[in-house]
Symmetry: C2
């Protein structure tokens, strides 16, 4: 993909963000003009009231782009306050120096953007503008996102193309650009891919010398799975300390949808917390069990039915159109799956709403849990059916399908010869899963959306151009000026429109995809020793493809913090456990002639495998925690140092322990924070600015283009927007009754 990366660096004008921190897209195509105008005025009012600077530009079709900029001193204060809060909640150990009016410079772009995100989305009581996308009053705000840092992204991507392996610095860079939640995904795929080298190498040896269903390779694979999961747990906690996000969940704000039963004032800390009884929530969460049952029955039934009809048609049926009919079950399945999945997702969302989680994090976690259950069924059940039902029992089940068919209508069935189960079908499916399916999913996930996105943008631009021509000379000159992009901004605005139309990046989906891949390896890997090699190659591409998708196809996600990859760790545990049992069963079943397998010996094998699994897991977790306890020790040492410093300062009556730390000059507006060289840990004590030196207003010292963007069009942005709404409403080439009435 290096050509793409290079292609993207050509245009400085396009890549410059002109000091825009955040963009809202307001769509008013479905509203009448008066409502649209009043809503829009309220929006601008809320934003300016929260101390944000605003510029309005036309978007695609009947949409406005609201460019938001947080004045630097306001932003610096927010960053400082956020660090103080981190310290109060014990996320970091160093209290940033300074008082209430101190402004701090963000250590990373993501820290800066997180404060911008807070300024835009937090409730007014907390000092934000209270703009929640697609919720409540703001249901017509269809996009709310920060702009990508194109230069940094393409630099990173082209850097990755020159080497095979990511480093911790690369992960730090991702964290600096996109926040910890995204960085954890890349850390996971990186760690997982590195670990994959071991079974890939073993797999080549096993493929050469042992063949499939080897006991040695199977055991090695199980041990590897367990060790990897335990290692990742340690690694995760390590990273969360490195990135200063350990336990970050507890300082997150309540969701607006959170229903609390009583307010509790803590006797020790004086904090008022809004609580909801934990046991009630747990009971509600127990509804996961009926949900999982329903999902299993619905999806499982569909899969069993598809599987049975497919087997029937391919193995038994011999009538006309066989070659076409063979595809019918799969096509029907693919067509009905989205409907069923979306129905189940609907139930899942209702359940998660009902569970009443305090923070968005916990809510997402609960929702991901349910998605995991559904994904697990659709991803694993077909192959499980092949491995444990079709191949072992096919010889007795399939002829019955035949009989069922025959008793109904007696079509011309040619050969009633003894049915032979194709025992290699299971292996063939595993090979398909590890090679073809991975390529398909990559295409589906990265390539297709990109093509679609590019074509769609071209079509929108063409349509806008036509609409612009149609509108010509119908408005006042000042409106015209608003409608036409100034030459200096044109490329930039094209890009912003593109990003506003792009999809949101859902990191949970990518994490789930990797978990499913790990699951394939753990559960079915023993059937074909080259599976890990296939996955390893795929992941080399996947990590780049996902970064490409993140930077060029999706909106930049708000840099949310997290201290793990979430509930997927539990999923990995479950998959490693199931993998052990399944590997034991597959090896036992498929090694020799299947007819000779006795149920009691099979059960004994599985039972022993489970005990071995429990033993290995215990040993691995103890050993890894012991050996890699370095970070934890360092964290303790950090805490100790804080307390020690405080003790010394309080005993020598100095007061503020940070007062001796060096005072750094505030970073000027346009100076780009270098994401490569920034420290892995923000140094919260490094950047206080004495209160007196603060600029009274947000003076733009950046490039001329920036200052032109923010000051070139004097006048109320609300008025400009209203003019644009009127113009765009009129110029829209749609047969909307309201629009024609107003025009």
């Amino acid at each position: 993909m290096s050509w793409l990366a290079r292609q993207e660096t050509h245009d400085y004008e396009e890549n410059d963000n002109l000091g825009v921190d955040w963009v809202l897209q307001y769509e008013f195509g479905d509203l009448d003009q008066a409502t649209a105008i009043s809503e829009f005025r309220a929006l601008i009012h809320d934003l300016t009231e929260a101390g944000l600077r605003v510029q309005v530009r036309p978007g695609h079709g009947s949409a406005l782009l609201v460019c938001i900029r947080v004045p630097r001193d306001h932003l610096g204060k927010m960053v400082h306050q956020s660090r103080i809060k981190d310290w109060l909640f014990g996320i970091t150990n160093t209290l940033p120096a300074g008082d209430e009016k101190t402004t701090a410079t963000a250590a990373t772009p993501s820290e800066e953007i997180r404060s911008v995100y807070h300024a835009v989305t937090w409730q007014k009581e907390l000092g934000g503008a209270g703009i929640t996308r697609k919720f409540g009053n703001w249901k017509n705000i269809t996009a709310s996102f920060p702009l990508h840092d194109r230069d940094a992204c393409s630099e990173l991507l082209s850097k990755w193309n020159r080497k095979t392996n990511l480093t911790v610095q690369d992960l730090d860079t991702i964290r600096a650009l996109f926040g910890e939640k995204v960085a954890f995904y890349f850390a996971f795929i990186h760690c997982y891919s590195l670990f994959l080298v071991v079974p890939a190498a073993l797999g080549i040896l096993a493929w050469w010398f042992l063949g499939p269903y080897s006991i040695i390779y199977g055991s090695a694979l199980c041990v590897w799975c367990v060790v990897f999961v335990e290692f990742w747990k340690v690694r995760e906690s390590d990273l969360s300390l490195r990135w200063n996000v350990k336990g970050v969940g507890r300082l997150k704000l309540n969701r607006t949808q959170y229903v609390w039963e009583k307010e509790v004032k803590d006797p020790i800390s004086g904090q008022v917390t809004r609580t909801f009884p934990a046991w009630k929530q747990f009971l509600r969460q127990m509804l996961l069990i009926p949900f999982a049952s329903i999902a299993s029955v619905a999806l499982g039934g569909l899969i069993v039915f598809t599987f049975a009809s497919e087997v029937f048609i391919s193995e038994v049926y011999n009538g006309p159109l066989k070659e076409y009919l063979e595809f019918v079950p799969t096509i029907l399945f693919s067509l009905s799956l989205p409907a069923i999945t979306s129905f189940l997702t609907g139930i899942a969302t209702h359940l998660t709403d009902y569970e009443n989680h305090r923070t968005q994090d916990l809510y997402d976690l609960a929702q991901t849990q349910k998605t995991f259950v559904m994904n697990f069924i659709t991803a694993f059940l077909p192959t499980l059916l092949t491995a444990y039902v079709y191949v072992p029992f096919g010889a007795s089940i399939v002829p019955r399908l035949d009989i069922l068919r025959r008793t109904g209508l007696d079509v011309n069935m040619a050969n009633h010869k003894e049915f032979q189960v194709d025992t290699s079908r299971f292996q063939a499916e595993v090979i398909y899963l590890s090679m073809t399916a991975q390529v398909f999913s990559f295409t589906e996930e990265v390539v297709l959306p990109y093509v679609k996105h590019v074509l769609w943008q071209k079509w929108r631009n063409y349509r806008d151009h036509k609409a612009g021509l149609a509108r010509q000379r119908s408005f006042s000159k000042s409106t015209d000026l608003l409608l036409i992009d100034p030459p200096g901004e044109a490329a930039f605005l094209r890009r912003v429109r593109g990003e506003a139309d792009a999809d949101e990046y859902k990191v949970e989906e990518d994490i789930l995809e990797m978990c499913v891949q790990f699951g394939y390896l753990a559960v079915f890997g023993v059937a074909w020793p080259l599976v890990p090699l296939g996955f390893l190659l795929n992941n080399w591409l996947e990590v780049r493809g996902d970064f490409f998708k993140l930077t060029l196809e999706c909106q930049r996600p708000p840099p949310i913090r997290a201290d793990s990859i979430g509930p997927c760790v539990l999923g990995l545990d479950f998959l490693a456990w199931m993998g052990t049992l399944s590997t034991a069963a597959i090896v036992h079943l498929y090694r020799g002639p299947m007819a000779e397998v006795r149920l009691s010996s099979l059960l004994l094998t599985i039972f022993i495998a489970e005990q071995v699994y429990l033993g290995i897991r215990f040993t691995a977790s103890t050993a890894l925690q012991k050996v890699f306890s370095d970070t934890l020790r360092r964290e303790e040492a950090g805490r100790y140092a804080v307390r020690k410093a405080f003790l010394e300062s309080s005993q020598s009556q100095h007061g503020s322990p940070g007062s001796s730390s060096r005072v750094r000059q505030r970073v000027r507006f346009h100076e780009r924070v270098n994401v490569y060289s920034s420290d892995s840990a923000p140094s919260p004590d490094g950047s206080p600015s004495p209160t007196g030196e603060q600029p009274q207003h947000d003076v733009l010292r950046g490039s001329d283009r920036e200052s032109e963007f923010w000051t070139g069009r004097e006048g109320d942005p609300a008025d400009a927007g209203v003019k644009l709404i009127r113009a765009l409403h009129a110029g829209q080439p749609r047969d909307d009754p309201k629009m024609t009435k107003l025009a």
Copy 2:
């Protein structure tokens, strides 16, 4: 036992500790006089150099009792320093106010005695006297202990006799008297006994309506076991926060035996730590596996052999002396068990030494782990053999024993009738374990040692009296004065001599005993539903008996801190897991006729039971952690409050955040700290004393008797001791060649 408690309160003179903080017993019977004198002078020198006051009295036989008292201002400083250290290591959240010269009053007797313990045992570099009992230079120090607080103990014991159930206040009292490690044991037995009420009630119902081997009762029992273990984990962490000992392991000092590879200076905190690679230690710890194998083979072989010979004699053999021979195997087993156990314990100790643990805590933990393995084998293997080998396979195995015998010598075997396995033997063994064995072990553990101790004391006193008569008129008058107890001290010294001769209290053994009991219930409980009732009744007595043993039969243990019951939690986990599998297997085997049981269905039952176990454990641990997360939340709130207070104080430039806390008068020497009303958490900020008010020397303001004890005999305690050594050496009624030479 109330009569005992009351009997003990009769004598004020005996119960008063006369301000003695610590007692060392120096035995010199095996040394020549010159060595004994020089060793003793070194001892007194080290103690006085460390700032401790010393008085010497004769002990039993050729032993001296060295009574130690830490001057109150020295003690107060140590208490304060220890609190500062707790705060530095993050054990407590509140920084005690004051500077380096502040003296603090201990909140509990155990806090005070812990500082005394440190003053006596810590190395000289750390400000202690460096006296380690039975180690290095001090191998003739045979006892090192604080004196019991008789009044408080008997008050507590008589209080317990008036009620059926302990309260948290009682646990707090135990903590105040004996420290957290002992308190955790009582908390565990208390929590476990309370939980036992549920299966006891269910058991009565099951006994009445369902009979043994009921599926319903078995399932309930398994669920109960899992829930109890998970609850205890939550409870333990709750208590460790309540008692301010969470994570206390990390501030413990290195063992003197610890071998470090390099000194690492922490870049953040500046602490110098002596490290030993964790992976190396882990590899060494892996030797547990061969050790467990050897122990299993040794003990298991012995048990199997005993079992087989017993069965052979009782079921097959029919020759002469049958009624006597039947007991021979058990007697031989009982006789050889101590030898084998002590051999294995020796190996275990060597292994633990080799593992090179940093602190005594970790060392004890590793040793307990190995003891657990041995205990597990001796406690469970016999009954497991009955349940899973003798009853199911006895019919085919026992006749073979017969044949083996017959081929050798053809003794007169009367009836060669078909051998019938006695299927009720398993149940009979379980009934024995839950009733008779418990009573036996209680007698063995509490009653016998008490009788032995009392008789032994009487014998020693009688012998001392005789030796005193033999010595009469052979020494100077001043030596005689030293040899004869002054009337005011006689009762007190009799008690001190008794305590010096008493055993050490090993809390780990009591914890292990409870774990084994829990294991019996989990593993075999389903065979007889009244097992939990038996255990419940036993535990009512056990908790009182153990407290009786602790206070009247053993030396007062140094109040060591701990934040859990140690490795036994892992043992409980293991027993709950094994219990589930075993209950499933027993119910499956014993419910119907055993001949009809098929291996595959048995394996399936066990396999399903294991999955259910994993499921329940996961659910229980999630639910309990969610519901009982209150303490953790409170701890977080506590941390938050500390940081908040610090932030405010540092912003208002006050400096020391604790400066506003009230200054309390130091508690006078004799004022007894009331262990009942003392706060559960020591309030470290409540008791600083301004530096200026400190007394220049430790003025005794207590009773006359106390001041007489400490000042009545002026002169160097070392000289007094030397005189006593000479006198006692001479007066000892033994035919020691050295003694006769010197006399």
